[in-house]
């Protein structure tokens, strides 16, 4: 099947629109968890492009998410009314406004990804981890120290963001993310990502522009993290700098590691599993991070390739090619 991925994307978009239209019938609590799952899937799949497929360990995903969340929220808070007027009101105007807000948020995140990536992606593994962690911290520190009356809202963050996020947007974005990441990695061009991961020196010797591939992976990952941030902001309707700290980045990293670095299906499964587990274990909140930490350590010692590694899905790929 030549257009398998495209068909998948259309089915996923149509299905999420269908579910969204009858979302009123879904239990509120259940819907809440579902939306969380969708946002986390977007985050995990986009981080997987950087950490898994390209093998560049980033610890700053929450920073890009923050940029996207603030970018999108500022658009809807400051320009939302103008945009709604221009588009003439109604549900289509709302959708267009939200789309613009999300894209602005994603664009800002992509830009910051480019700014962080250009200098730091010339570095090797552990330095990159620290630089991205540092970027995450800088974003948080800057947002916290902005004026409380300004557009960024200071340490308390932003409140009263219109709750535009619904099932269609969350799962639509998740489907697009999965589509873009998996088709990109499976394309001829995208083999460069895997080459960079498997052996950077050999890839460079074969003429692969490794820095460019790393920057592209970084910018794309940041863009989708920004979209997820925008969705999150318009879902919770309040955001604060503390919500995007280092631990939020670790949450996403744990999903990628548990699922298997470089395995999109594995990462999706892990994102779903961990989000649902989080809800179940709400009463044991104080043990949650201990368990996450143990997952990281034990996985690395016992099964570093993840629960559902990419090699599980590779045979199918060869047959279809």
């Amino acid at each position: 099947m030549k257009y398998k991925a495209q068909i998948f994307l259309f089915i996923a978009l149509a299905a999420s629109l269908g579910v969204s239209l009858c979302a009123g019938n879904i239990d509120d609590y259940f819907l809440d968890i579902l939306l969380n799952v969708g946002i986390n899937v977007t985050l995990a799949v986009s981080l997987n492009l950087v950490n898994g497929h390209t093998g560049q360990f980033s610890l700053g995903h929450a920073g890009f998410m923050a940029v996207g969340a603030y970018g999108a929220s500022i658009v809807t808070l400051q320009l939302g009314d103008h945009l709604l007027q221009i588009f003439g009101g109604g549900s289509i105007a709302t959708a267009l406004t939200f789309l613009i807000a999300l894209l602005v948020g994603g664009g800002c995140a992509a830009l910051s990804g480019w700014m962080v990536g250009m200098p730091s992606l010339r570095l090797k593994g552990d330095y990159l981890a620290i630089v991205t962690l540092g970027f995450n911290e800088i974003i948080r520190v800057v947002l916290t120290n902005t004026s409380g009356d300004g557009p960024f809202g200071g340490a308390l963050g932003l409140k009263g963001i219109a709750s535009y996020t619904n099932f269609f947007w969350v799962f639509g974005v998740a489907a697009v993310t999965i589509y873009v990441v998996s088709t990109m990695v499976n394309s001829t061009y995208g083999r460069g990502f895997l080459a960079v991961r498997d052996d950077e020196i050999a890839a460079e010797a074969m003429g692969v522009n490794t820095v460019r591939y790393k920057v592209i992976a970084f910018v794309l990952g940041a863009f989708f993290a920004g979209l997820a941030g925008g969705l999150y902001a318009h879902f919770r309707s309040t955001i604060s700098p503390e919500g995007f700290n280092f631990l939020k980045s670790v949450d996403v990293v744990v999903m990628v590691i548990l699922g298997g670095m470089g395995s999109t299906p594995g990462v999706i499964a892990a994102a779903i599993l961990l989000t649902v587990l989080n809800e179940w274990l709400r009463d044991f909140e104080q043990y949650r991070m201990i368990v996450f930490a143990l997952i990281l350590i034990v996985m690395m010692i016992v099964r570093p390739q993840g629960l559902l590694p990419a090699s599980l899905f590779q045979r199918k790929k060869k047959e279809s090619a």
């Binding site: 970027f135 990293v253 991070m289 201990i290």
Partner: protein
């Protein structure tokens, strides 16, 4: 006339900030030494190092509590030294255990796996401590009776600050002696140069790595107690920020280079204090000082990735 007065005031303020920076920087230097030594022998960043620093402060708190009947009979310099040495021993042992349980099984695995494990270890220590000690700030006991040492002009320097600086430098000199003057130090340097060759020459790499971890963790514990003496309020997450800044210090000085780490620590401490001191007079919130270290890190990695004193390492295929 007014110009000379404001000039003098400016100078006084500047020297005061410089001194404050040196006191803070000497602690960063102690932590940075641990990062740099571990990087030297294992070529990886021990993310959990900042948490050993925190454990040092907590062990100081509890030792002071448990040994109180004995400590009160001693003069304060002796009791400070006792608490310091005991927590250095405890944390040194913890460092060795951490290495043995979490890092040793990954000795031949890709560096990325070790890095992820280190992040896991760091989070594990932080959240376990939160469970045990509680998340709230706890006051650190006064180990050193505080008194102002009248400086020149309007400078204020407390005896605590001086003791912190002197202890930190004494420990650094001690480390220099161990690394440059003992057989174990020689083994450490050999291992850092070439692990295979050193083991062929009869160096027991495992023992040397354990020793390095113990040494680095002991220094971090000392840093923790000194830090808590300067800022007497401790909590399970206190190690993250100083740990990261100390890491930046190690990179700034050239990671793997021991004098470089000490130099980097002092520079980071001074720059951060100066930024905090002068940003307020410029109307910028002083909270931005938390980001300074990371800006330095990004700049150093762009312009001189080998650090101030480090050697350029070529990657061989």
């Amino acid at each position: 006339m007014t110009l000379t007065i404001s000039y003098q005031l400016f100078l006084e303020q500047f020297v005061q900030q410089l001194l404050n920076g040196l006191f803070l920087g000497s602690i960063y230097a102690l932590i940075a030494l641990g990062y740099t030594m571990v990087y030297g022998v294992l070529r990886f960043i021990n993310f959990a190092h900042g948490d050993v620093f925190m454990l040092g402060a907590f062990s100081g708190l509890y030792l002071n509590k448990w040994l109180a009947p004995m400590l009160t009979t001693l003069p304060w310099p002796a009791s400070v030294a006792l608490v310091l040495v005991l927590s250095m021993i405890i944390c040194g042992a913890l460092g060795i255990i951490i290495e043995f349980l979490a890092y040793r099984p990954l000795r031949d695995k890709p560096k990325l796996n070790v890095l992820i494990t280190a992040i896991g270890v760091s989070l594990f220590i932080e959240y376990t401590c939160q469970l045990i000690f509680g998340a709230t700030q706890q006051p650190f006991p006064v180990l050193i009776p505080k008194s102002n040492i009248a400086g020149i002009g309007g400078l204020t320097v407390t005896n605590v600050q001086v003791i912190v600086l002197v202890t930190a430098f004494a420990l650094m000199l001690g480390l220099r002696f161990i690394v440059m003057g003992t057989r174990l130090g020689l083994a450490m340097r050999a291992l850092s140069l070439n692990p295979t060759a050193s083991s062929l020459m009869g160096v027991n790499n495992g023992v040397v790595i354990s020793f390095t971890f113990g040494l680095g963790s002991a220094l971090a514990a000392a840093g923790g107690i000194l830090y808590a003496s300067l800022y007497p309020s401790i909590e399970p997450f206190m190690g993250i920020t100083p740990g990261l800044k100390a890491f930046v210090a190690a990179v700034l000085g050239g990671i793997g280079n021991i004098p470089g780490a000490a130099l980097g620590g002092l520079i980071i401490g001074v720059v951060e204090t100066l930024v905090a001191g002068y940003s307020q007079s410029l109307g910028v919130p002083s909270g931005y000082k938390e980001g300074v270290a990371f800006v330095i890190l990004i700049l150093i990695l762009i312009f001189k990735p080998s650090g101030l004193l480090g050697k350029v390492e070529r990657e061989k295929v």
